[in-house]
Symmetry: C2
Subunit: 204 residues, 2 copies
């Protein structure tokens, strides 16, 4: 009921309302009926404006991606700039957790990375990495960023079903510190940073 009866319902308002719906709740909250109710109209209007649910999600992804198209690079040397670039991109995805789920549903998890690819290519050129080698580096860094966020968001989607059972390592009982560390929640941020540095060591 967020609009009075005779407001204009356009494709833009449908998409915007759908995004708000998802960001205020989660992806499951995006149903055609609920969206229609939120718009104060009937479901058929939504189908008229956007086609179907799949097309709607596509429009939402495009909208959200357009908002994060610009890339700002900071840092002294190329390695610092690449590192900052990856961390920045991770942060953006992290700030839009529902974008991940949406893009996931539309198989656009990687396609959203073109601006980052271009910026990375510039920096890699600066250190003499070109052609297939540069492509391998870009792919590796990209996968690292995406997978880090995807896995973390997946893991935190539910309660703590992901917690490991401390009593299940009969072979390593002589290393209590290791067992304690493995029983603690995963520090995804730290794991991401370590992996990033490892990749940079490798590629540069």
């Amino acid at each position: 009921m967020s609009r009075s009866s005779r407001d204009s319902v356009t494709q833009a308002t449908v998409v915007a309302t759908a995004i708000r719906l998802v960001e205020d709740n989660d992806l499951d909250a995006l149903t055609m009926r609920r969206l229609a109710a939120e718009l104060g109209t009937a479901v058929t209007s939504i189908y008229w404006h956007v086609g179907n649910r799949d097309a709607l999600v596509g429009l939402m992804v495009d909208r959200l991606l357009a908002d994060m198209r610009d890339v700002t690079v900071g840092g002294r040397d190329p390695r610092a700039r690449i590192s900052s670039l990856c961390k920045q991109w991770r942060q953006r995805l992290w700030d839009h957790p529902h974008l991940i789920a949406l893009a996931h549903e539309r198989n656009k998890t990687l396609a959203m990375f073109q601006p980052m690819q271009a910026a990375l290519a510039r920096e890699l050129h600066a250190v003499g990495l070109r052609g297939k080698d540069a492509a391998a580096a870009i792919r590796g860094l990209q996968l690292h960023v995406v997978s880090s966020v995807v896995i973390e968001r997946t893991a935190q989607r539910g309660p703590t079903t992901d917690a490991t059972d401390p009593t299940a390592w009969p072979a390593i009982t002589d290393d209590p510190e290791l067992i304690a560390a493995l029983s603690a929640p995963v520090d995804y941020r730290a794991a991401f940073d370590v992996g990033l540095e490892a990749l940079l060591d490798r590629f540069l």
Copy 2:
């Protein structure tokens, strides 16, 4: 209709049929009604034997994980054994793509790794890595394996929506080989191997 009318329907047959249903089709094919039809019984029998859909998926994950609990390590030195371990685990997940989706739905994406954790810990101890350092290495390798398979399976779930647009890199038109490489399908296996070596360089 895979069983005649008066066969015994047990929790085991329900889970087995559900697994077959998912592996022959996909996760969406697992509906209570279809599963009941496949068993030649009524939906209520399934609820009687397994509770509800969520519990059923939990049982399926447990069943599948039990089948891959044993770990065989091969290789001359610890590094080779760790590498083989990671590749072996990746291959197993790869061979059970639906297990990924199932575990994903149950937030058990990481919890399925305990046998691999123990084996990794043994090898890391062999090279003097203990406590928090060993835990960081285990976490890093584990995330690398999981995310590699998850991302690849996600990307290949749909057709080629993930293909990148070759005309969208105005900044790097002077590197046609890079553009060609970025436009080609992602070689996830190669990206995995590179990332794995980078992590091993880092940790060992």
